[in-house]
C-alpha cells in the first residue's frame, strides 16, 4: 500500500504554539435533588448499600488478619489482604455507571471494584440471565452450594453467589471463582465483567487496552476499565498502554466502521500513596495526576480529577467518559481522589503518615457522608440506615461461615492429586483449521510478494542436487509466511501487529505483502512499546480474540518481562483454565549486531511455567509449527533465527503448498546414525550436519535430532536414539548456564543412564556477551567445535586435530562466574 501520511516540511516548520485545555478538578456540582430526579431514590439507596457491602466484606478480612476471627468465626487466613477501606465510593460510583458487559481489570487492591461491578451487573441483567449464569458456572457446583447453605441470605441469591465465590477464592478453595488458583489479587468472574485483578502494579493498563481493542473490533459497544492506583503512574507499562490506546492511527488510518479511539478508561484510584511513598509531592512530578492526560494526546485523554469520596461525583464522571468512549473518542483518564484508611496491607505500621491525617479522613468517611446526605434529604431515616448496616453484616457473616467451612467450601486437594495444578498449565486444545471465506481486501494474486512466492520451487535443491537461490525456492521465512497468511486470511478473530509490521513487512519481511490485503484493523504498526505489544495481545486474547505479535529481537524480551513472564504465562492457570490466552509471540534470534542484539534467550522462556515454545530450523518445520502455534489455544513463543530466514529446505522432499500442522513438542530425527546422537536447537542443526559429514569420513556415524520445539518436549526420540548410540551431544547457541539444553542433558542422564556410555555433553555458547560479527565464530558453536568434542572427547581417536578455541577448563571458568 502506498504511503498514506506525507510529512511535509512546509507544514511541520510553520511557527505555532501548542495549546492545552484546562483540566477540570472536582467540577461535579449536581444537587441531590437533581440526582434523585436522574437516578431515583431506590438507586441512591442501593449505592449506599453497595458501599456498605464492600466495607463489611473487607472489614471481615481485616478482622481475620488482625485477630484470627470475625464475629466469633475463627479462621487463619494466610494470604494477602490489600484492603480498600475508605475507597468504596470510587468503586461503587464507577460500577453504577458501567453496563454488565463492560469489563474491568483490577489491581492488588480490587475486592471493592469486583464486588461493586458484580452487584451492579447482576442488578442490571435480566433475572433469567443471572439464573442461567449461576447454573452454568462450573457445572452448577457453586450455585448448588449457595442454594443449600446461603438461601435467602442477603437481598438475592446472586449477591450471595458473588460474595461467596469471591471469598471462597480469596481463601483459595475449590469453589472459588478461579477454582482456588488465583486468590485475592487475581480473582475474576468474567460473566459480570470482572476481569482479573492483578498483583503486578499497573499491569491492568495494558490488558484493559488490549481488551478494548477487541471491543472496538467486535463493535459490541462495551468499554474496558483499567483499575489502577496513583503509584502505577510511575510504571513504564502504564505509560506505554496509555500511548498505545491513544495512537493517532485509530482515527487517521483505520477505516469505518473500525475508526475512532479505543474504548478504554484509565481509572486511577488515587489514594495519594503507593505503599508508603507519597505520589503527589514526593515520588511523582505531576502534582495532580490528571495532568498526565495532557501529555498523551490532543484530547488530553479527556482527563479530569474527581472526588472519589462521593460516589455520585464518580458515577457522573464515569458516565460522561463512557459516553465519550461510545462516541469513539477514547481513551479517557480519571484521577479519582480518595483515601485508604486501612493500611496498605495488614502489616502496615503507618510509619509514613500521621494519625491526624487518618483522623481527618475518617471524619470525611465516604459511607457516613453518603448516609448523611440521604438522611438529610429525607430519603432514609437513621434507623433504616442502621437496619441496612445490620443486614449487610448478617449477609457477610453468613457468607463467611460458609466459606471457612471445609465441608461447604472444600480446600484444593493437592495431597490426593499431586499434579492437579499442572493440569491447569495448558489448555492443550486447538482451533479447527480456519477455512472461512477470505478476509483479504484483494486476491492474493494481486500481491507481488505472494505471486513471487507462488512461483518458487518447493524444495531447496534442483534435480542435479544444486542449491537453489533463496530467491527461487521456499525459505524458512516463506514457510512462516504461508502459515501466517492462511490464518490471517481465514480467521477474522486474528490480528497481527508489532513494530514496523505493515509496509516494512516486519523487520525481517515475514509479513511482506500483507499490508496490501489487510486493513489497519487487522495488521498495524505498533509503537516501540514491547510491554504494550505483549500486554495488549494478552488483553485482546482474554477478551475473545487471537493475537499474533512480534518482538523484533528476542533480546527485547526484557522490555516485556512482566507481560511475558507473569501475564502471558499465567492467566490460563491462575483462572483454573477458565481463561484462554491464544497469543503467538514471534521473537527473532539475532546475530552480527553484538551483545544486545544477538542473544538466544530461549532459556528464559523455557524456565517460566505456562509458555509453549518452538524454534524451527527448516522451512517445512517452520510452516507446520507456525500453523500449530496459530491454532493453539495456549500462548506460544516462536523463536526464529535471523540467520535462517533465507534457509531453503534440505531435509523434507518438499514444503507442501497446502496447509498442514506439525504438533508442537515433537523432536525430529533429521539424519540417522549409529555412533553418537547430536540433538540441536535452532540453527545448530546446520553446524551439526556439516560436522556429521566430516565425521562420516572418519567412520563416525552421527544421528541428528532437531529439537524443533522446547516446551512441550517429547524425550522419546532422544532416549530411543541413545539406546542405539550410547552417546549424546546437545548443541545450542544459548549460553550454557541455565540453558534448556542443560535441562535436557540432566533429564536424558536420568532416564537414559543405563544406555549411556558417556555423560551427555552440552556444547553451547560461553557465559559471556555475544561479541560482534567479527568474533561470532568463536562464540556460537561451529562445526569444528562439534568435531573437537566428538572426535576429541566423546569418541577420542587419539589424533589431536583440535581446530576450535574451546579448550578451556569449564570448572575453572565456573569458579570465576563464567
Amino acid at each position: 500500500m502506498p504511503k498514506e501520511l506525507v510529512v511535509d516540511p512546509t507544514s511541520t516548520r510553520r511557527r505555532t504554539e501548542i495549546e492545552f485545555k484546562p483540566i477540570p478538578v472536582h467540577a461535579y456540582d449536581r444537587s441531590l435533588a437533581e440526582e434523585r430526579k436522574l437516578r431515583g431514590d431506590a438507586a441512591l439507596t442501593e449505592i449506599l448499600r453497595h458501599m456498605m457491602v464492600v466495607r463489611e466484606f473487607e472489614s471481615m478480612i481485616a478482622s481475620f488478619k488482625a485477630t484470627g476471627s470475625y464475629r466469633g468465626i475463627e479462621y487463619a487466613y494466610r494470604g494477602p489482604a490489600h484492603l480498600s477501606i475508605g475507597q468504596e465510593a470510587a468503586a461503587v460510583g464507577q460500577a453504577v455507571s458501567l453496563e454488565p458487559g463492560d469489563q474491568i481489570f483490577g489491581s492488588h487492591r480490587s475486592h471493592g471494584e469486583f464486588i461493586a461491578k458484580g452487584m451492579s451487573a447482576f442488578a442490571k441483567m435480566p433475572k433469567e440471565d443471572v439464573a442461567d449464569l449461576m447454573a452454568n458456572h462450573r457445572q452448577g457446583r457453586l450455585a448448588e452450594t449457595v442454594d443449600a447453605h446461603l438461601d435467602s441470605v442477603g437481598t438475592s441469591n446472586a449477591e450471595a453467589f458473588l460474595l461467596f465465590g469471591l471469598l471462597a477464592e480469596i481463601f483459595m478453595t475449590q469453589l472459588g471463582f478461579n477454582g482456588g488458583m488465583g486468590g485475592s489479587m487475581h480473582a475474576f468472574y468474567a460473566p459480570v465483567g470482572a476481569y482479573p485483578n492483578n498483583a503486578i502494579v499497573g499491569a491492568s493498563a495494558g490488558l484493559a487496552t488490549g481488551a478494548a481493542l477487541r471491543r472496538k473490533l467486535s463493535r459490541d459497544g462495551g468499554i474496558c476499565v483499567a483499575n489502577i492506583g496513583d503509584g502505577s503512574t510511575g510504571c513504564g507499562p502504564v505509560m506505554e498502554a496509555m500511548n498505545f490506546a491513544s495512537m493517532a492511527q485509530f482515527r487517521q488510518l483505520w477505516q469505518a466502521p473500525f475508526d475512532g479511539g479505543l474504548p478504554v478508561l484509565f481509572f486511577f484510584t488515587n489514594n495519594f500513596y503507593a505503599m508508603g511513598g507519597q505520589t503527589s509531592g514526593e515520588t511523582m512530578g505531576w502534582d495532580r495526576l490528571s495532568r498526565i492526560g495532557a501529555g498523551v494526546n490532543q484530547e488530553q485523554m479527556h482527563a479530569e480529577t474527581v472526588d472519589g469520596t462521593d460516589p455520585l461525583a464518580v458515577a457522573d464522571a464515569v458516565a460522561r467518559k463512557r459516553q465519550l468512549l461510545a462516541q469513539r473518542k477514547g481513551p479517557a483518564l480519571l484521577d479519582v481522589e480518595c483515601y485508604r484508611i486501612s493500611g496498605h496491607s495488614t502489616t502496615d505500621a503507618n510509619a509514613y503518615r500521621d494519625r491526624d491525617e487518618i483522623r481527618l479522613w475518617k471524619q470525611h468517611d465516604a459511607i457516613e457522608l453518603m448516609a448523611g446526605k440521604l438522611i438529610n434529604a429525607g430519603l432514609l431515616r437513621d434507623d433504616q440506615v442502621e437496619d441496612m448496616k445490620a443486614d449487610t453484616v448478617r449477609t457477610i457473616e453468613a457468607v463467611t461461615s460458609a466459606a471457612v467451612n471445609p465441608n461447604i467450601a472444600p480446600p484444593v486437594d493437592v495431597g490426593s492429586n499431586p499434579t492437579l495444578i499442572g493440569k491447569f498449565m495448558f489448555n492443550d486444545t486447538s482451533q479447527p483449521v480456519p477455512s472461512g471465506i477470505s478476509t483479504f481486501t484483494h486476491p492474493k494474486g494481486e500481491v507481488a510478494a505472494m505471486r513471487a512466492l507462488a512461483r518458487k520451487a518447493r524444495n531447496g535443491r534442483d534435480e542435479e542436487g544444486n542449491l537453489h537461490s533463496p530467491l527461487r525456492a521456499v525459505t524458512l521465512r516463506d514457510g512462516l509466511a504461508e502459515a501466517i497468511v492462511h490464518h490471517l486470511e481465514h480467521d477474522p478473530l486474528l490480528i497481527a501487529y508489532g513494530e514496523e509490521c505493515r509496509e516494512w513487512g516486519g523487520a525481517f519481511g515475514v509479513h511482506r505483502g500483507l499490508s496490501e490485503v489487510l486493513p489497519h484493523n487487522r495488521l498495524f504498526n505498533s509503537p516501540i512499546s514491547e510491554a504494550a505489544i505483549v500486554a495488549t495481545a494478552i488483553g485482546h486474547a482474554l477478551a475473545g480474540g487471537r493475537s499474533l505479535v512480534e518482538l523484533m529481537y528476542c533480546d527485547f524480551i526484557g522490555r516485556a518481562g512482566d507481560e511475558i513472564f507473569n501475564q502471558l504465562a499465567k492467566w490460563h492457570s491462575m483462572s483454573a483454565g477458565e481463561l484462554t490466552v491464544p497469543v503467538v509471540l514471534r521473537a527473532s534470534v539475532g546475530s552480527k549486531y553484538g551483545a544486545q542484539h544477538s542473544q538466544d534467550w530461549t532459556g528464559l522462556i523455557t524456565h517460566i511455567p505456562g509458555l509453549k515454545a518452538i524454534y524451527p530450523a527448516t522451512p517445512f518445520d517452520a510452516k507446520g509449527l507456525m500453523a500449530s502455534a496459530l491454532s493453539s489455544n495456549d500462548p506460544v513463543v516462536a523463536f526464529e533465527s535471523q540467520r535462517l530466514y533465507d534457509q531453503v529446505e534440505l531435509f523434507a522432499d518438499r514444503v507442501p503448498e497446502e496447509y498442514y500442522r506439525i504438533p508442537i513438542g515433537e523432536p525430529d530425527v533429521k539424519r540417522t546414525g549409529e555412533h553418537i546422537t547430536i540433538l540441536t536447537f535452532g540453527p545448530s542443526l546446520y553446524k551439526a550436519v556439516a560436522a556429521a559429514d566430516e565425521l562420516a569420513r572418519d567412520g563416525i556415524s552421527v544421528e541428528i535430532i532437531d529439537a524443533r520445539s522446547l516446551v512441550p518436549f517429547n524425550y522419546d526420540p532422544v532416549l530411543t536414539s541413545i539406546k542405539k548410540t550410547g552417546h549424546l551431544l546437545i548443541v545450542t547457541e544459548a549460553s550454557e548456564r541455565g540453558s534448556f539444553a542443560m535441562t535436557v542433558a540432566a533429564t536424558a542422564s536420568r532416564y537414559g543412564f543405563a544406555d549411556l556410555k558417556s555423560p551427555p555433553r552440552v556444547l553451547g555458547s560461553p557465559n559471556w556477551i555475544v561479541p560482534g560479527a567479527e568474533m561470532e565464530s568463536t562464540y556460537f558453536p561451529q562445526a569444528h567445535d562439534i568435531i573437537d568434542v566428538v572426535a576429541g572427547e566423546i569418541l577420542p581417536d587419539g589424533r589431536n586435530r583440535r581446530r576450535g578455541v574451546r579448550n578451556w577448563d569449564d570448572l575453572a571458568l565456573a569458579r570465576a562466574g563464567l
Partner: protein, 77 residues
C-alpha cells in the same frame, strides 16, 4: 562520463537480489530520484533511484535475473 547505477548493499545477510522490473529503457531521460528499477531481496522490494539527471545509455541486466550486490543495472550518459 557514464554513471553506473548498481545494486546497493541491502543489509548484512543479503548477497543477491532479483531484478523484478525495469522502469526505464535505453534513450529515456531521467531526473534525479526517479526509480529506474525495482529489485527484490528475500526480505523486501526496493526501488533503485537514479542519483542524477541524464539519459539511459545502457540496460545491463535482464528483468527476472538474479544479480549480486554491486552489479551494474544500467548506465547514464
Amino acid at each position: 562520463m557514464a554513471t553506473r547505477i548498481v545494486v546497493p548493499q541491502l543489509g548484512n545477510e543479503i548477497t543477491e537480489a532479483e531484478v523484478t522490473e525495469f522502469h526505464v529503457a535505453v534513450g529515456d531521460t531521467v531526473v534525479e530520484g526517479d526509480a529506474v528499477a525495482t529489485i527484490t531481496t528475500t526480505k523486501m522490494a526496493v526501488e533503485i533511484e537514479t542519483p542524477e539527471n541524464g539519459e539511459i545509455a545502457s540496460v545491463d541486466v535482464e528483468e527476472g535475473s538474479i544479480v549480486k550486490i554491486g552489479t551494474t543495472l544500467c548506465t547514464l550518459s
